[in-house]
Symmetry: C5
Subunit: 253 residues, 5 copies
Amino acid sequence: MDLATVIGIVLAMGLVVSAILLGSSLLIFISAPSALIVIGGTIGATLVNYPLGSVLGVVGIFKKTFFSTVENPSEIIARFMDYANRARREGILSLEPLLKEIDDAYLRKGLQLTVDGLEPQTIEEIMQAEVDYLEQRHETGAEIVAAMGAYAPALGMIGTVIGLVQMLQSMSDPSTIGPAMAVALLTTLYGAILANLFFNPLAGKLKNRSREELLTRELIMEGILSISKGENPRIIEEKLNSFLPPKQRQSSD
Amino acid sequence: MDLATVIGIVLAMGLVVSAILLGSSLLIFISAPSALIVIGGTIGATLVNYPLGSVLGVVGIFKKTFFSTVENPSEIIARFMDYANRARREGILSLEPLLKEIDDAYLRKGLQLTVDGLEPQTIEEIMQAEVDYLEQRHETGAEIVAAMGAYAPALGMIGTVIGLVQMLQSMSDPSTIGPAMAVALLTTLYGAILANLFFNPLAGKLKNRSREELLTRELIMEGILSISKGENPRIIEEKLNSFLPPKQRQSSD
Amino acid sequence: MDLATVIGIVLAMGLVVSAILLGSSLLIFISAPSALIVIGGTIGATLVNYPLGSVLGVVGIFKKTFFSTVENPSEIIARFMDYANRARREGILSLEPLLKEIDDAYLRKGLQLTVDGLEPQTIEEIMQAEVDYLEQRHETGAEIVAAMGAYAPALGMIGTVIGLVQMLQSMSDPSTIGPAMAVALLTTLYGAILANLFFNPLAGKLKNRSREELLTRELIMEGILSISKGENPRIIEEKLNSFLPPKQRQSSD
Amino acid sequence: MDLATVIGIVLAMGLVVSAILLGSSLLIFISAPSALIVIGGTIGATLVNYPLGSVLGVVGIFKKTFFSTVENPSEIIARFMDYANRARREGILSLEPLLKEIDDAYLRKGLQLTVDGLEPQTIEEIMQAEVDYLEQRHETGAEIVAAMGAYAPALGMIGTVIGLVQMLQSMSDPSTIGPAMAVALLTTLYGAILANLFFNPLAGKLKNRSREELLTRELIMEGILSISKGENPRIIEEKLNSFLPPKQRQSSD
Amino acid sequence: MDLATVIGIVLAMGLVVSAILLGSSLLIFISAPSALIVIGGTIGATLVNYPLGSVLGVVGIFKKTFFSTVENPSEIIARFMDYANRARREGILSLEPLLKEIDDAYLRKGLQLTVDGLEPQTIEEIMQAEVDYLEQRHETGAEIVAAMGAYAPALGMIGTVIGLVQMLQSMSDPSTIGPAMAVALLTTLYGAILANLFFNPLAGKLKNRSREELLTRELIMEGILSISKGENPRIIEEKLNSFLPPKQRQSSD
């Protein structure tokens, strides 16, 4: 559960609603047609912009911003120290029985390739291609949400101009100008809130999650390659530790 | 047929028209001169910006956003596994009879070069140059549509300023101010709709299509090079599979 | 003659003028002081931004957007096939008599270096440096025009604020407000038209011209290097053809 | 203590407050709800955008913009000249007793690896990974503050639109329009001040601090590698001096 | 003396002042508090953004946009031809007596390292580090001025919002609205003029100057390396000439 996402949205929306309630009823800020044009139009523009499959995948992507399952890098390093020491003492084939206990598909694949005795360079090519592909999929996800953050205020502006044109065309009764303009402004408000409190920060969180996950993958790749090259466990530890912030580093010494 | 493009445009435009109809007749939003200045001006600026041939090619480019012909990567991989096994067992010349059955010109050319016994490095140079060139042509296409998405709101703004100047110069009768301003705002509305519901998302879709097509080409290039280097079919499969999302991967084991 | 540039400007300006004439006389849109502040101010800011020589060179640069002299790539490839076959059959020195018939200075220089027997790597260094330099000069040209496209609307805005301040300071007679504001808006209009119908698209066209010219240079460099390495004419043809769109490719087979 | 940060904030805020006091009381510019929506909303959006840990770390990051502890590069170079001469004369192991006197963890680690006799390439990999990691953490810090600089004006705009809608809905008494609009504008003002006098310049200062610190790390890495390669002290001095502005360079000659 | 900078500023400011004088007295555009908040606030934000030393260095940087001391590249090439021929005929040590006549510290250092017999690769590392450092310092200078160009309009906007809030809070006498709003707009005007006629173009000029100077340094580095590698003077001339626009090239043949 990503607490920051939940706290952030509750805090920001709570403040916006409180600010409204201080000055008027919440009712004058609710307009189904305005919501429809902003939300529906944003979804429409996003569908034109991205393949159907990717847009439908956004629901799953949103979930990802609320839940986090990235493994702790320190644990991965500890695990690699174990593999490295074992490979040193008992040979690389001694890692084979461990393979079936590994949950992470990426780590298991890398270790399998190592146990199979492939060249480190070939292992690197295969593992790097996988990381590149993952990065690209993640980028597409964050990009879609960022695109929604760009289309929402544009749709808001379109809705407001439509409202203004209608107001200006029927300006016979001056007392209706104010309320008509207030309604016209609602789409701008919806667009700005959707973009700045939801889509843009969620796109940012997706990028951060992706960065963390990629770091873990690079850590795993570095570890696999070091083992397949038969490097000294102490050097492997130094290398992998440099992926951690200084505070989290542990030494097996 | 790219359903997402069609659904997206129908959804967004439908919502915009519904929003209009809720408040007034659609007629007050139709103005031929406004449409002419925004659309014609956008085309004019695009013609100054890009070569005539490229702009005329945009029609074909738009078609591309509605229809998709990218081959399924899984099928390409299956095909390469077949080639690789055949080349292993019967020698690389055994691929020659297959050449004439291949539809894709890029794959055929690559395989022809391999059968001809060129060095992998020379094959890579030729195939990479082709991919680079394709990427550049695609980028120009997406760039033109994106430029139209930038010029349309600018022309909309120019039209609105022209309308405002005319209104301000003849402000004798206050009752005409509202309608005159409403008309002036129409070009801004047209520009915003063209940019945000058509040009910008279509440019995005073109970039996505291009990315997919380039991935397929890279997959083909990787496969051709692996065969020409005489790599082990199992390693080829591992390499090519890393181009696929994990779910779509199949193993020949 | 670059028809697209001429057609584009005539089309866009014609539509803008027509849109004006539909609603009022053209006269209320003409203001010498407004034109002076926008055009003069843009030139001033550009002079501060770029060296005098480069700004004066912009006149020549504008000419370039109307006239095009890039040689047809297919013809260059045909020519290289001729050189390559000749060099194969009669030795590289047989190209020497052809040198004086070559108009293009870049091609002539490259071929001269080849005939002189320099190492391919040295030839590449010299020819690449020349291309890099050309690219930089082109970029500066396009950059200056793009900078004018950024300064013009800024000057337009400055002019409008000046007009608004003067109008607001002397607001005794309400009937003068409208026309005064109309005049103030003219600089904004001029800035927007200059930027979006002239400077920005012309900067774009310069970038496209430069891209074409650089492609031709790269094609020539690739051809020269292939000949100086004594490559097989068929492979040279494959390599050079990949610079062309598939439709334009010809085969000497 | 980073005087520039303190002077800059005091100067800018002092001028803003003076400008206000020249025209009215400061009181009409103070509104707790407006401050709450802008500041709280910005924090909320930032929490959605970044992991909780990183956002909480921002407090420590802000401190960093006020205090500077980067070591003087000239002193580091002098120290390296000492190490290099010592290593030359008495062998690399003679550096071991110095290790425990070194405060800087990065320098100590690098020297330890050198004394341990690791290959220069391995030392470079480990030290580079550490620098890369530091750079990434710094970038995240500056990015968070820059994101706050983007969210603050957006929240300001949202607050103003909310105020405008409320004002337009209850426009019965014309005399209340002015003050209501004034209050609505306060969130825009708060957002603009927070972004342009605090978040954006502070993000810039963080980037500058990070650049300085990275330069020092690169200087240390270069020095360590030169010593581990056993390079001539004079050449080491030339190399390290090129990290300094010409004025600060000293020669041991 | 950089004439373009002087002409540009005089031209643009002259036109702005003329435009003002055509419609009113210059006096209504002068407001010390407005100038103070825009200029002082911009300096304040810049101090928060950059280290004190760098901001104080901006005065020297501004001077640089008015005066130019870059040596003529043709002369540098002529000089290198002389060195190259001398080194060819009389050995590289024959360049030593020339060292003390060289004004340019960079050229002298490079030649000294060559005469000292260092490896070309070591010379390249040292000279490249120096160029990189110079580039970074130049970039910081241009960046600071560009940042001022971004803060000035933001401060102008802050000043205008402050003025608007004060005007709206005391809107009892309608006749004061106009002049109050006019005064409020002055900060926007000052910000726009400072940014678009001073800071932005000056930042651009700094970037251009830096580019010229870096080109000269690269030319010198290329020449030094060619001499230290003992290359043929004719090839050196070809290489260095490619740094010049075709018109300026001279041949020693």
